[in-house]
């Protein structure tokens, strides 16, 4: 009977493995291998190896035409300025939300986290940034991201803080810590697991975001990786040059895939851990 069970399990893994091969690996191979082909050969969209490799030609064309490095640094800048701000401001607010027993604070909490489900209003967000004279700039989109994504951090962190015993904080206060010290020395380090989860989701959504850079950025600032890809494909003639589009796809997605390769365990367990906490 045990043998039967084992057979069953390996048949199951074989089935899922086959599925993963067809729906994940084959499409990724299609992108990769066609990004090395000539225009003519890539238009067939085959899975075979290129008869002649156009590796340097294709990638250097995309890097130059799409101004890849600027796009990369712009996207990186947006991601690394926004996420720590959201995490710190969100944790600070969550601390108060988790510890307060006041009704008003709890109403404010529910209004704040409602933006997890309710999407922002598109056109009037542009208007608000224009009124504040920060439309089109990084400052504008960063503040906007913080305002609309804080809810996500607060939702996950508040529950987490509730499970931290208050006595820890009181002990620190008796030792003479000020409020802000209690937060940074005691609370924030304990939040590490949930911060990892929140930061992973935020990185995925900001790095890959199309909608908000499209609406809120202007001119040179608007050259993010994803917007660059969009403009590159949209500006093409009627037929798409798949070899270049695929090379651009690789470049746009490579940074996150490289990060995933090195931190897959942390990322997978971070998401699963965050799910269980809720």
């Amino acid at each position: 009977m045990k043998k039967d069970l084992k057979k069953n399990v390996s048949a199951r893994y074989f089935a899922v493995g086959l599925l993963a091969f067809i729906i994940i690996l084959l499409p990724f191979w299609l992108i990769l291998i066609n990004s090395f082909k000539s225009l003519r050969e890539s238009s067939i969209l085959g899975f075979n190896l290129p008869s002649k490799w156009y590796l340097i030609e294709n990638y250097s064309t995309v890097i130059k035409k799409g101004d890849f490095f600027r796009g990369f640094f712009n996207t990186l800048f947006l991601t690394i300025t926004t996420i720590p701000s959201i995490v710190i401001l969100g944790s600070l607010a969550s601390w108060i939300f988790a510890r307060s027993k006041s009704k008003i604070i709890s109403i404010i909490y529910y209004v704040t986290i409602s933006s997890i489900l309710i999407p922002p209003a598109v056109v009037t967000s542009v208007k608000v940034l224009k009124i504040l004279h920060i439309y089109g700039s990084y400052l504008g989109i960063i503040l906007f991201y913080i305002g609309t994504l804080l809810s996500f951090s607060i939702f996950f962190t508040t529950g987490f803080i509730k499970s931290i015993p208050k006595e820890l904080e009181e002990a620190a206060r008796i030792d003479g810590c000020t409020n802000i010290q209690v937060f940074f020395i005691i609370i924030l380090p304990l939040l590490k697991p949930i911060i990892v989860t929140v930061a992973i989701f935020l990185t995925l959504s900001i790095w890959n975001d199309f909608i908000w850079p499209f609406y809120l950025l202007k001119g040179d600032a608007s050259n993010t990786l994803v917007l660059g890809l969009y403009r590159f494909v949209s500006s093409g003639e009627r037929s798409i040059n798949w070899h270049l589009v695929f090379a651009d796809l690789i470049l746009v997605n490579a940074p996150l895939f490289i990060a995933y390769f090195f931190a897959q365990r942390m990322i997978i367990s971070g998401i699963m851990g965050g799910a269980v906490k809720q």
Binding site: P27, A93, I104, V111, L143, G147, L229, M272, Q278
Partner: protein, 295 residues
């Protein structure tokens, strides 16, 4: 109903720690929604400097134009389709990969990869795969021995289904991991006891595992439904809302109205989308939460 200051002072939780969050949320989330309500009833456009209040004229003109209703139905089809296909697929894969072994970890890691990709990029990838002379048609031609060129992206009836499939493909990794995490929380004794009582694997799944996944279902059904109601990158990059606007979801309609400078109209449609999402989200949370308690 007043702020209990003594309570907060006693515990030394300073309210001003909340201030940055409250200010930013009010300014960039709540204020645009309030302004949206106001501008929905104005003739705000790019062609005219002033903004005048015109009552329900936008609403009337939009409903006469008819596209908004079509778009609304497309949005519902899209969101419900994504919600069903994505969660069903994620659940089946989670049940298959529930145990943590070397192979299942490798498979989870592989299956999760589309989540890392930008939605726009996934749309372009499948635009290639589904194209008339693309790999999928070639494969179908190969197994049937004929020359097949099914218009995956050019069919007014079927294209929306393929767009739904791609959206599900791009995002199913997250619910899959959530379901695996949920399944791992179910006490082993419960499954063992059921086995001893003579339950078959299917019964264990339907009578024990699925009911106990309640909280995971709540979270993932709501987020996938609302995520699909709001996002439009995949229909945009795959087919630009076509053919014949049959995949133009509401948010892409707003995107197009915005692009053509009809801002007042755009805010009216935006208000509609906002009201619909509220009308779906809040009752759904209550219904699903209630079921959780009963189980």
């Amino acid at each position: 109903m007043f702020i209990n200051l003594s309570d907060i002072k006693k515990n030394q939780y300073k309210l001003y720690f909340l201030l940055p969050a409250i200010i930013l949320v009010s300014l960039f989330f709540i204020l645009p929604i309030i302004l949206n309500l106001f501008y929905s009833f104005t003739d705000w456009t790019t062609y005219k400097s002033g903004v005048d209040f015109i009552g329900l004229k936008n609403v009337i003109e939009l409903s006469e134009e008819g596209m908004v209703w079509k778009s609304l139905i497309i949005t519902f089809k899209y969101a419900i389709g994504v919600c069903i296909i994505m969660n069903l697929g994620a659940l089946i894969l989670a049940l298959a990969l529930e145990k943590t072994t070397k192979i299942s970890t490798l498979l989870r890691t592989t299956l999760f990869m589309p989540v890392l990709m930008s939605s726009l990029a996934s749309g372009y990838l499948f635009k290639a795969i589904f194209s008339n002379k693309g790999p999928l048609n070639n494969f179908l031609g190969f197994i049937t021995g004929g020359n097949i060129s099914f218009p995956f992206l050019g069919s007014v009836e079927w294209t929306i289904f393929f767009v739904i499939l791609v959206h599900s493909w791009k995002y199913f990794g997250v619910p899959m991991l959530i379901y695996i995490a949920g399944l791992n929380l179910i006490p082993v004794e419960l499954k063992e006891a059921a086995k001893v009582e003579g339950a078959n694997p299917l019964q264990i799944i339907t009578k024990i595992k699925i009911p106990l996944l309640g909280p995971a279902f709540t979270f993932s059904i709501i987020t996938s439904l609302i995520g699909a109601m709001w996002s439009f990158e995949i229909p945009l990059s795959m087919v630009r809302g076509g053919p014949a606007r049959t995949t133009e979801v509401l948010n892409m309609y707003i995107f197009n109205l915005f692009g053509s400078g009809r801002w007042g109209y755009a805010t009216s449609v935006s208000l509609l989308l906002f009201l619909i999402i509220c009308a779906i989200a809040f009752p759904l949370i209550i219904v699903l939460k209630k079921r959780e308690v009963e189980l």
